[in-house]
């Protein structure tokens, strides 16, 4: 693999790191199977691309994109906890609705961002994009660590693990699901907004399979770095993101495998299966039985 391909994989891994932290919040902390991210990731891209092409400051546009993502997450959470729609179905409904909304926001299926200002403009001359992303992701990770070890964050974790116990301890579980889902999808939208600015476009089809990628990286991280504390778990998620992108890049670059770009989703599915199966395989027992 060339250096360019390597750095490209790292950059994409870092871009999707925010999404993965969001997926960690919904799937792992709240135990909420949330497919909304398939809609909120392109929502972030759509909002940021539309606003930037209309001359809005990229930082402000990115912030608005995060708010839009938070609203999408709230929508799913309200459908689930207030309207009592099954959580998975609630998220699918929001995801489907967002497809139309994203088209409405952009006015067409694709918005190019070439020769437009981006969030990276002033910084890019000083630092490479991947360093900026790494710093941003690191700060986000620390903020999430702080939150999850605070009283409120602990209440959110209890809500996901044991809602009966949580409400007996005076925790309003509904409100914490609303808050957590808003945070999760704000991060997914941030990922989408950064993706659009780095890659120079927003596309309505950008979100297809986002949740699988997010979940793949979370599971991969956990499989490679099993950990019990929040700090290590979030670090494992980020590590999972980078490893996932490197594995994909290697798989697609290895000529002898004959894989091409269209095989991406197949490779992703295989990586998830492997990350789920490998921890169950007891290597020691396997070696002994061979003797």
């Amino acid at each position: 693999m060339s250096l360019v391909a390597f750095l490209g994989a790292i950059e994409t891994g870092l871009l999707y790191g925010f999404l993965s932290l969001g997926v960690y919040l919904s799937f792992r902390v709240l135990k909420f199977p949330d497919l909304t991210v398939d809609g909120s990731f392109p929502l972030g891209a759509a909002v940021v691309a539309t606003l930037i092409t209309q001359g809005i400051n990229p930082w402000l546009a990115t912030a608005v994109a995060m708010v839009a993502g938070a609203l999408a997450g709230l929508c799913t959470a309200v459908l689930s906890v207030r309207v009592n729609i099954l959580n998975l179905l609630a998220s699918i409904l929001t995801m489907i609705a967002l497809y139309s909304i994203n088209l409405r926001i952009m006015g067409r299926p694709n918005v190019p961002l070439l020769n437009q200002p981006t969030l990276f403009d002033g910084l890019e001359s000083v630092l490479p994009v991947w360093v900026i992303l790494l710093v941003g992701l690191g700060v986000t990770k620390l903020a999430i660590d702080w939150f999850l070890t605070s009283d409120l964050g602990l209440a959110m974790r209890a809500t996901g693990m044991n809602p009966t116990m949580a409400s007996a301890q005076g925790i309003y579980t509904d409100r914490l699901i609303l808050l957590g889902m808003a945070m999760s999808n704000a991060l997914a939208a941030l990922s989408g907004a950064l993706f659009a600015q780095v890659n120079g476009f927003a596309d309505v089809a950008l979100g297809v399979g986002t949740v699988v990628v997010g979940l793949a990286t979370v599971i991969l991280g956990e499989a490679i770095f099993p950990s019990r504390t929040v700090r290590w778990a979030t670090l494992a998620v980020i590590a999972g993101c980078l490893i996932y992108r490197l594995v994909i890049a290697m798989a697609l670059n290895a000529d002898f495998l004959g894989l091409r770009a269209q095989d991406l989703n197949l490779v992703t599915a295989l990586i998830v299966v492997m990350a789920l199966v490998l921890p169950q395989v007891n290597l020691l027992a396997l070696v002994k039985s061979k003797r």
């Binding site: 301890q169 005076g170 309003y172």
Partner: protein, 261 residues
């Protein structure tokens, strides 16, 4: 100070499966009372407890705690008045969280939770002191996940958690039923000790008539959604399991499940 007036609860109302669980229960609980609640399966013991905790909202009736009407309050809001230990030792704590994290969750019961770090060394010292009194060695395992503990240890911890923050009433829902006899005995001793030490007003549901007679200072017997028997300490000390059974036979309440002692 806690009063339940004319409480009615029906499960699945308006359907062919409609089942009345409580039929006009009236109960006044004075501060410092330790009430044991007994009765056969389906008598309404757990429903009564859940009505107080807020997990079941009553169809009719009123619940007052020190003149404040909490009838419509959800569980989370009542948590600042009500603490609870569940029958299932796994239900009262989070297996994937550490002992200290569970303890601080319980410590904040009824308080507003903010963004300050949940744990600090002052809390840890305090928790260690509380756990040391259990003599289970848990004070050295603050960072262990609760899932590593035995059922008895978890139930002991649940009791400590229930007494960390102030409450107007402690609800015990057959909290020794899922334990082996020796552990059940230890948990019951611990319960007595904590209730006395913190002067807690307590309502304990139990299946065992002997336990209902041995513990506490007031005994309630429920049958088919009604309180059929209510004796205070002076009367209770003279009662035996046989007396209770005779009394039930006279009232036409003979029920094999009441023999469980």
């Amino acid at each position: 100070m806690i009063s339940l007036a004319n409480i009615h609860v029906t499960f699945n109302p308006g359907t062919p499966l409609a089942k009345p669980a409580l039929l006009g229960v009236n109960l006044d609980i004075a501060a410092g009372e330790f009430i044991t609640v007994s009765g056969s399966n389906g008598a309404g013991k757990s429903t009564l407890l859940n009505v107080i905790s807020g997990d079941i909202l009553c169809d009719r009736g009123q619940i007052l705690v020190e003149a404040e009407d909490i009838t419509a309050w959800p569980t989370a809001r009542r948590a600042k008045l009500v603490s609870r230990v569940f029958q299932n030792p796994l239900a009262g704590s989070c297996a994937e969280l550490t002992i200290e994290e569970n303890l601080v969750l319980a410590f904040r019961r009824g308080q507003l939770r903010g963004l300050r770090p949940a744990l600090n060394d002052r809390f840890r010292d305090q928790f260690r002191a509380r756990l040391a009194s259990l003599e289970l060695g848990l004070e050295n395992r603050l960072c262990d996940r609760i899932g590593l503990l035995s059922g008895g240890q978890r139930q002991a911890l649940s009791l400590v958690m229930a007494t960390l923050a102030p409450a107007k009433i402690l609800l015990l829902d057959e909290h020794t039923a899922a334990l082996d006899p020796k552990t059940a005995h230890y948990i019951m001793q611990l319960t007595d000790q904590l209730v006395t030490e913190h002067r807690l007003t307590t309502l304990m549901v139990t299946h065992s008539m002997r336990q209902a007679l041995e513990v506490g200072n007031r005994l309630l017997m429920l049958h088919e959604g009604r309180i059929v028997f209510d004796v205070d300490q002076s009367e209770k000390v003279h009662l035996s399991v046989d007396d209770l059974l005779k009394r039930f036979a006279n009232d036409g309440l003979s029920d094999d499940s009441l023999l469980l002692s």
